[in-house]
C-alpha cells in the first residue's frame, strides 16, 4: 500500500506568532514540523506496519522546510517530495491544494493522510480541496483509521460521539490531532533520515499555472478584549432572581 502523508513546516507554537508586512505568516523564526502532521505521519506509519508498503511525504514550502520533512523521515517515513518554487510564495489554499495535488497525483497513492488543519493557517480547507482536485473520496475528522482490503474506514468524530464512515481506496483521510501520539524517533531513525530521498519539484516540473490569489488578507486586528460584565451584589433578597433573569436573557437556561 502506498500512503502519502502531507506535512508542513510551521512557526514553533512555543514562540510568539508574527505576521509579515503583507499579512502573511512570518516564517523566519523558529520552525517545527506541524504537530498535527506528526500525528498524520504516525497514522501513516502504523498503516504501513500493519499492511506493508511505503510512506511518502509530500510538502510544499521553502527549501528550509526540509528540516521539518527530515523530522518526519526520522520517525520512519520512506522518502519525501518537496514542492518548492518562488512562484508559490504566499500561495492561498486553492493554489496550495493544486500544487500538492499535482505532486501527489504523480505518486498514485492508495491513501492520502492529512491533518485536519495546519497549526499556523488553520483554514482546514486544504484536505477537502485536495480530495476534490484529486477526485478522491474524503473522510474527515477521523480519530481512528482502519484499512480492510481495498476499503478504508474511519471513526468520524462528532460532538456527541463518532460516525463510522468508509470509502473505497484510493481515498483521502483527514485525521484529528488527538488520533495518536507521534512516536519517539530512535537515534537509528534519526541517522537513517539523513540518507533518505527528498526530491524537490517546482511549478514547471508539475506543469502548474499559478493564478493570482483568489483571496488575500487585507487587514488583521486583535480580537476585542472582553468587556467587564455586570456585577450582581448578593443583598440577601433579589440577587438570585437577578442572575436567573440575566441567564435567561442570554438563553443559557
Amino acid at each position: 500500500m502506498k500512503i502519502v502523508v502531507t506535512v508542513k513546516q510551521v512557526p514553533d507554537p512555543n514562540s510568539p506568532q508574527r505576521l509579515d508586512a503583507d499579512n502573511t505568516i512570518a516564517r523566519d523564526g523558529d520552525v517545527v514540523l506541524d504537530p498535527g502532521d506528526a500525528c498524520g505521519v504516525e497514522i501513516g506509519l502504523r498503516l504501513k506496519e500493519a499492511h506493508g508498503g511505503e510512506v511518502v511525504l509530500v510538502s510544499m514550502g521553502p527549501e528550509r522546510a526540509r528540516e521539518a520533512i527530515r523530522k518526519a523521515l526520522s520517525m520512519g517515513a520512506d522518502r519525501a517530495v518537496l514542492v518548492t518554487d518562488p512562484a508559490l510564495e504566499g500561495a492561498d489554499v486553492n493554489t496550495t491544494a493544486r500544487a500538492l495535488a499535482a505532486a501527489i497525483g504523480s505518486e498514485s497513492p492508495d491513501l492520502v493522510v492529512c491533518a485536519t488543519e495546519s497549526y499556523d493557517g488553520s483554514t482546514g480547507m486544504v484536505p477537502p480541496m485536495l480530495a476534490e482536485v484529486l477526485g478522491l473520496p474524503q473522510l474527515t475528522f477521523a480519530n481512528h483509521v482502519e484499512v480492510n482490503g481495498s476499503t478504508v474506514s474511519v471513526h468520524r468524530q462528532t460532538e456527541d460521539g463518532y460516525q463510522v464512515v468508509e470509502a473505497p481506496m484510493p481515498a483521502l483521510v483527514a485525521v484529528t490531532a488527538g488520533i495518536a501520539e507521534p512516536r519517539y524517533a530512535s537515534l537509528r531513525g534519526i541517522m537513517a533520515a539523513r540518507n533518505k530521498e527528498v526530491r524537490t519539484v517546482g511549478v514547471a516540473d508539475l506543469g502548474l499555472e499559478v493564478p493570482a490569489p483568489a483571496e488575500t488578507v487585507e487587514g488583521v486586528e486583535d480580537a476585542p478584549s472582553r468587556q467587564q460584565g455586570e456585577i450582581v451584589e448578593d443583598d440577601g433578597a433579589s440577587g438570585v432572581e437577578r442572575i436567573m433573569a440575566l441567564l435567561q436573557a442570554a438563553k443559557v437556561i
Partner: protein
C-alpha cells in the same frame, strides 16, 4: 561544537518521552522505587543502546548520544532512575562489549540493550570500598566452573538485576593480578540478595547487599582473561566517572535554572529577591562554576570518545562536577529559603540526591589521590 543536529533531535525525543512517561511518576517512584517496566520501555525506544553497535541491538551512536541521555535524565530530576540507567548502560554493559566473547555479548549484552534484563555491577564490599584491592570475594576454579563466595554491598539494581558483573579474586595470592570479572545471572543458585538498604537520597533506585554462597558460575561466564579483572575494572571506572560527571553538571544546571526563576518571582521587601546583590551574585557564582566544569567535561568526553584514556581529566571532571552539584543544590536551597527545605520543591530532593556524587564511583578523596598520582606526587 560537541553535539550535532542529530543529537539535538534525539534530545527532543528523549525530553518528550521523559515528560510524558517518567516525570509524572517520579514522586510515586520515590516511595516505591521505579518499576522494571520503565527500563523495558527505555529499551524499546533504543535508549539503552545509544552508543552500542547495531549488530547487538544498539543504535550505533557515539559517546555524546549517551551524554544526551544522561543530561536529559538529570534535567528532568530523574535522580535514582537516572543512576540506575547509568549503572546499566555505562557501568555494567560497557565491559561486556569491550571484553566479552561473541557468545557473552549475545547472552548478556543483547537482552540488556533490549531492556529485558537489568544489569548491575558489584565491586564494593563491606570491608572494601575506596580500597578496592582489599576485595575478599573469591572465585575458586572447579571443573568448568568458578565457585563464588563473598559479600557485596551498596549494589545499585542489585535486587532487580537479570545479571550482575561481579569482581572476585580468582587467585588470592596474586595481588592485583589475582582479580577476574564474572557475569552472574540472577537465578544462579547461591546468588542471594540479603537486603535492600535505606538511604539519604536516590530513593527511586534500589541499593542491595548481596551474598554469594558457593555460587557456581560456568567458566564461560568469566569476562576477559583470568587475572585481568583489575585492569578491566580500572577501564570501567573511567567511563563510570565520566558519565557521572555529565549527569552531575546537567543536574546542577537544572537546579540553577530553577533557583534563578524562583529568585525572579519571589518578592521580599517589595522587590524580587533576585535583585538583592547577594542573591544575584550567588546565582552568578553558581552559573560560572557550572560553565567552567562543563567545558572540561565536554572536552574530556570528546577525548574519551576518540579512544584516549585521560585518567587525570576524568578524575578532575568527576571530582569537580560532584562538588559543584552539591554546592549548587545547597545554594539553591538557601535561595528558596523555607520552601527549599520542603519536599514539594525539587531542590530538596536534588540536594539529597546530589550528595551521593562525592562518594559513589570513587570519593572526592580518592579522586584527589588519583590526580596526585598522575603528577607523580
Amino acid at each position: 561544537m560537541y553535539f550535532s543536529d542529530a543529537h539535538q533531535e534525539l534530545r527532543l525525543h528523549i525530553r518528550r518521552f521523559l515528560e510524558r512517561e517518567v516525570v509524572p511518576h517520579l514522586e510515586e517512584w520515590e516511595q516505591t522505587t521505579f518499576p522494571d517496566s520503565i527500563i523495558k520501555r527505555f529499551g524499546e525506544l533504543g535508549f539503552l543502546g545509544l552508543r552500542y553497535p547495531i549488530e547487538y541491538g544498539g543504535q550505533g551512536g557515539d559517546y555524546f548520544s549517551a551524554v544526551v541521555l544522561s543530561e536529559e535524565m538529570a534535567r528532568a530530576h530523574c535522580g535514582g532512575l537516572g543512576m540506575a540507567v547509568a549503572v546499566h548502560t555505562e557501568m555494567a554493559t560497557p565491559p561486556v562489549l569491550r571484553f566479552g566473547t561473541e557468545e557473552q555479548k549475545r547472552r548478556f549484552l543483547v537482552p540488556a540493550i533490549r531492556g529485558d534484563e537489568i544489569a548491575a555491577i558489584a565491586m564494593t564490599e563491606p570491608d572494601a570500598g575506596s580500597d578496592l584491592a582489599g576485595m575478599r570475594t573469591t572465585a575458586r576454579r572447579e571443573a568448568g566452573h568458578y565457585i563464588l563466595n563473598g559479600r557485596k554491598i551498596f549494589i545499585t539494581n542489585g535486587a532487580r538485576c537479570g545479571w550482575c558483573l561481579v569482581v572476585a579474586r580468582s587467585d588470592p595470592a596474586a595481588g592485583h593480578q589475582g582479580f577476574s570479572l564474572f557475569l552472574v545471572p540472577r537465578d544462579t543458585p547461591g546468588f542471594h540478595v540479603t537486603r535492600t538498604l535505606k538511604k539519604l537520597g536516590m530513593h527511586s533506585s534500589d541499593t542491595a547487599e548481596l551474598l554469594f554462597e558457593d555460587c557456581r558460575v560456568p567458566a564461560d561466564f568469566r569476562l576477559g582473561p583470568e587475572g585481568e579483572g583489575w585492569k578491566e575494572l580500572m577501564w570501567e571506572l573511567q567511563g563510570e566517572r565520566l558519565i557521572a560527571a555529565c549527569g552531575q553538571i546537567a543536574g546542577a544546571q537544572a537546579v540553577f535554572e530553577y533557583a534563578m526563576q524562583y529568585a525572579k518571582d519571589r518578592i521580599a521587601f517589595g522587590q524580587p529577591i533576585a535583585s538583592f546583590q547577594v542573591i544575584k551574585h550567588r546565582l552568578v557564582d553558581m552559573a560560572n562554576r557550572i560553565a567552567a566544569v562543563r567545558a572540561l567535561v565536554y572536552e574530556t568526553c570528546a577525548r574519551w570518545d576518540a579512544g584516549e584514556y585521560p585518567v587525570r581529566e576524568i578524575s578532575q571532571c568527576k571530582l569537580l562536577s560532584a562538588q559543584v552539584a552539591v554546592e549548587v543544590a545547597d545554594d539553591a536551597i538557601q535561595i528558596l529559603g523555607g520552601h527549599g527545605y520542603m519536599s514539594e520543591f525539587p531542590v530538596e530532593r536534588a540536594w539529597r540526591d546530589a550528595r551521593l556524587a562525592r562518594i559513589g564511583a570513587g570519593t572526592d578523596e580518592i579522586m584527589k589521590e588519583i590526580i596526585a598520582k598522575t603528577y607523580g606526587l
